[in-house]
Amino acid sequence: MDSALAHEPQAKIDRSPGEVRAAVSGRWTAEHAARIERIVADLSEQTEGRLVFDLAAVERLDTLGAWVLDRTRHELEGRGLATAVVNATPEQTILLDEIAYRGFQEVPRVAHSSFVSFLVDVGQSVAGAGRDLVGGTAFLGELVSALVRVIVHPRRFRGSAVINQLEQIAYRGVPIIVLISFLVGCIVAQQGIFQLVKFGATAFVIDLTGILVLRELAVLLTSIMVAGRSGSAFTAEIGSMKMREEIDALRVMGLDPMEVLIVPRILALVIGLPLLTFISSLAALTGGGVTAWLYGDISVDVFLSRLRAAVGLNTFLVGLIKAPFMALVIGIIATIEGLSVKGSAESLGRNVTSSVVKSIFMVIVLDGIFAMFFAALRF
């Protein structure tokens, strides 16, 4: 009797006129769900009179077995047939009573065609983008008013928080930003030399690298790196504080989360990003110089004097002016995403992702707008 077969649920059917007696045996448990369902479905199809379940030989009955028995009884009674359960132990009786059939209605699902749902998606994302724009502008207003409050009451300014954030954002970001900027400087110079050598204009690689790095590349690389490193960290920090009601705790203590958490972070970003941009420019120019020397036989003296001639103060400033605006965009997006985290861990992950994606997208869009602006000014 130890074989697995011995425990299989069975039903011995005994027909007499007007009554079917099903002596069920074996384990009526969830492991044998498929078999139980089949047995009971067959039984209920073949039954025409009264159906009696005899539980005397059942080894084990769990909620699944009891549920299927009770459901079948209910269905048969719906067809006007009488049913009964006999020889149940007191425990089984309690279980059957406790389970007592409930009709679970299927929740009707509204079906849409894929074209309609595509249109709905498009509409929703356009509306979402509009909401983001309005929300961002409103947030900028709040931020400015908080800044003004801090300026009016300088004692509410949290210097140590700003310094701490500056360390996280700027100081600890230096190595990786120096490394990637150096490499990108090398790559730009190398490709420039390969193309310009065809025209015998190798020396112009210095103009190319200098202007490209100072105007565009340094600030873009730095902003993208900071969006990935610090923007995501802001969103995660503020989001998890929101989840654990820490932001509400600040509010009820009469502290403004804007002043305590957000102003120091955004200030640190606005100060830190131009500093990093400057460091990034130096690193990229060094990379370009090293490559020019290795691939183009341009000596350090020649590189420096030509660079001085090619690059004016305005070129340098164009890059640097953009940096604080990039910082503001990154900070605002990161904070808004952080504050809109809902209760679940999944929502935190989603908001961190969307914070980084939106920041990088907006940084590039802003850079394009600045390019048109400076072109119009001939700066």
Binding site: T63, W67, R71, N87, T89, Q92, R102, F104, G343, S344
Partner: protein
């Protein structure tokens, strides 16, 4: 011709959980040493002890979430150390755990939470899967419309109930409850106690309940075990507890809060 339920057919003198000579510690600190504990089939064991004495650690050690330094843990008569991965899974299938904070998967709805172990371990038709999940959700006293909610949309009491429904998903034989009534209002806690007692009767469960709630101990527990100084300082019925001379037990069961629960105490 009556037949005893499977929960009662095994010899009652064989404990369903047997812990012998258990030693657990973290780093330099030893939390419990030489601890023995029996949990009998079909009982509701209330497990008490001061905060920080290691009630949760003991529970987690039995569940295999915390490594032990020495000793033996037997569940269903099987030494947990000697089981291979498949046998261990078979044991884990037969117990359900209600964590203190519920530990519902936040990305899944209540129904999906309950269905997750069913999907993993059982081969159910979609119809039965739905019906059974809704049945468990109703058995723990939740409204059917809670089934499609996410855990973040539930109140504290509803989270406990939903987590209990998930713990019951596979019709376990042992149910571990870690402070099931903490964070519930007294009425909700009372209802939860009744629910556990009803489910224990209906499903023939053995319940291992870590609790601080004196009302729960009086209302539903058949036996109480008290943990102190890394050992079981007393185990037995409420009368044994009340008669114990141990200072911590005296202040616990005869203190001001206990008197409010037990009118007989003066």
């Amino acid at each position: 011709m009556l037949q005893t339920s499977p929960a009662l057919t095994t010899r009652p003198q064989n404990p369903i959980i047997r812990v012998r000579g258990l030693e657990v510690g973290f780093g330099e600190r030893t939390i419990m040493r030489d601890l023995d504990l029996d949990v009998h089939r079909g009982e509701i064991l209330g497990f008490v002890g001061a905060s920080g004495q290691g009630k949760s650690v003991l529970t987690r050690t039995i569940l295999g979430l915390v490594p032990k330094r020495a000793g033996r843990i037997e569940v269903f008569g099987q030494d947990m150390d000697r089981l291979n991965a498949a046998e261990r899974r078979a044991v884990e299938r037969r117990w359900g755990v209600l964590f203190q904070q519920g530990a519902l998967f936040s990305a899944l709805t209540v129904k999906q939470n309950v269905q997750l172990p069913m999907r993993e371990y059982l081969n159910l038709s979609p119809r039965l899967l739905d019906e059974l999940a809704l049945l468990k959700i109703e058995m723990v006293g939740l409204k059917p419309d809670a089934a499609d909610k996410l855990p973040s949309e539930l109140s504290g009491g509803m989270i406990k109930r939903a987590a209990l429904a998930r713990a019951l998903a596979l019709d376990p034989e042992i149910l571990f409850l870690d402070e099931p009534t903490s964070g519930l209002d007294p009425i909700g806690a009372g209802e939860f106690d009744d629910l556990i007692a009803t489910l224990q009767r209906t499903l023939g469960l053995t319940v291992f309940m870590v609790t601080h709630d004196l009302d729960s101990l009086y209302a539903v527990c058949n036996r109480i075990a008290a943990l102190g100084e890394g050992k079981i300082i007393a185990a037995g019925s409420m009368e044994t507890m009340l008669a114990s001379p141990h200072p911590w037990l005296r202040s616990y069961f005869h203190g001001k809060r206990a008197r409010a629960v037990m009118p007989g105490e003066a």
